[in-house]
């Protein structure tokens, strides 16, 4: 029988990442077919707006992958070692980047692209509660990892 060297939480998280990634892909593909947006390239989905709309979810999936690594480390009894700190930082970084991409990058870029980069007045930002919460949680994780690392090095200076 195949034995995976991974805790259940990490396994479930990684399975969820794969399923969510596939769901995202098929959702986008389905929407494009439904709206007949593709034309010749419909099978390839090469429009820039399509790729830009995937930026935030890609960062979120990266954060989830980092979370699964953190779960694995915790299961192995890694008590706030460098690998765990790195995992927490990656998690926080992924959430922050994803949230800021959803708030700033995606709305502005999609707006510019749909208007063929002609002079467009106003700034498009997507300040939703969800995006801001994710950005703050990401920031908290990064800061906690940093603080934890400091505390760990202080503890290690005790014999």
């Amino acid at each position: 029988m195949l034995k995976l060297n991974m805790p259940t939480t990490a396994l479930v998280t990684r399975t969820a990442i794969v399923l969510l990634g596939l769901a995202l892909f098929f959702e986008q593909a389905g929407a494009r077919q439904l709206l007949h947006l593709g034309g010749v390239n419909s099978g390839m989905m090469l429009t820039p707006t399509h790729w830009i709309s995937l930026v935030a979810p890609a960062f979120y999936l990266w954060a989830m992958w980092a979370a699964s690594s953190v779960f694995t480390r915790l299961d192995q009894g890694d008590a706030f070692g460098p690998a765990l700190v790195k995992g927490l930082r990656a998690m926080g970084g992924g959430l922050m980047l994803g949230a800021w991409a959803a708030i700033i990058f995606q709305p502005i870029m999609i707006h510019l692209i749909t208007n063929n980069f002609r002079a467009v007045q106003g700034v498009r930002l997507n300040f939703t509660i969800e995006n801001l919460t994710l950005a703050l949680v990401g920031l908290a994780l990064v800061l906690l990892a940093r603080h934890g690392q400091k505390l760990k090095s202080k503890l290690e200076s005790f014999v």
Binding site: K154, S157, F158, V159
Partner: protein
């Protein structure tokens, strides 16, 4: 810092080598060397207990304090 580690004195009195003490109490030689030279921020109670047991002494035989009124003004970082 006015707290001084006088472990070397105790080791000399007991005629013990640092390497042997380190092995008995489960510290690395490097860690014990850092402790002997006062380059650590603190000593855990369990490490102190082991040291006292192996060297047959009390914590006051390993640590000493030079009185300094400025110690009250030192901020904990």
């Amino acid at each position: 810092m006015p707290v001084r580690v006088t472990l070397d004195v105790m080791l000399a009195r007991r005629k013990m080598r640092a390497r042997d003490v380190a092995e008995k109490i489960g510290l690395s030689e490097t860690q014990l060397s850092l402790l002997r030279t006062g380059k650590v921020r603190g000593v855990r109670f369990d490490t102190m207990s082991k040291l006292c047991l192996v060297l047959d002494c009390a914590p006051g035989d390993i640590l000493d304090y030079d009185r300094d009124e400025l110690d009250l003004k030192v901020k904990d970082d």
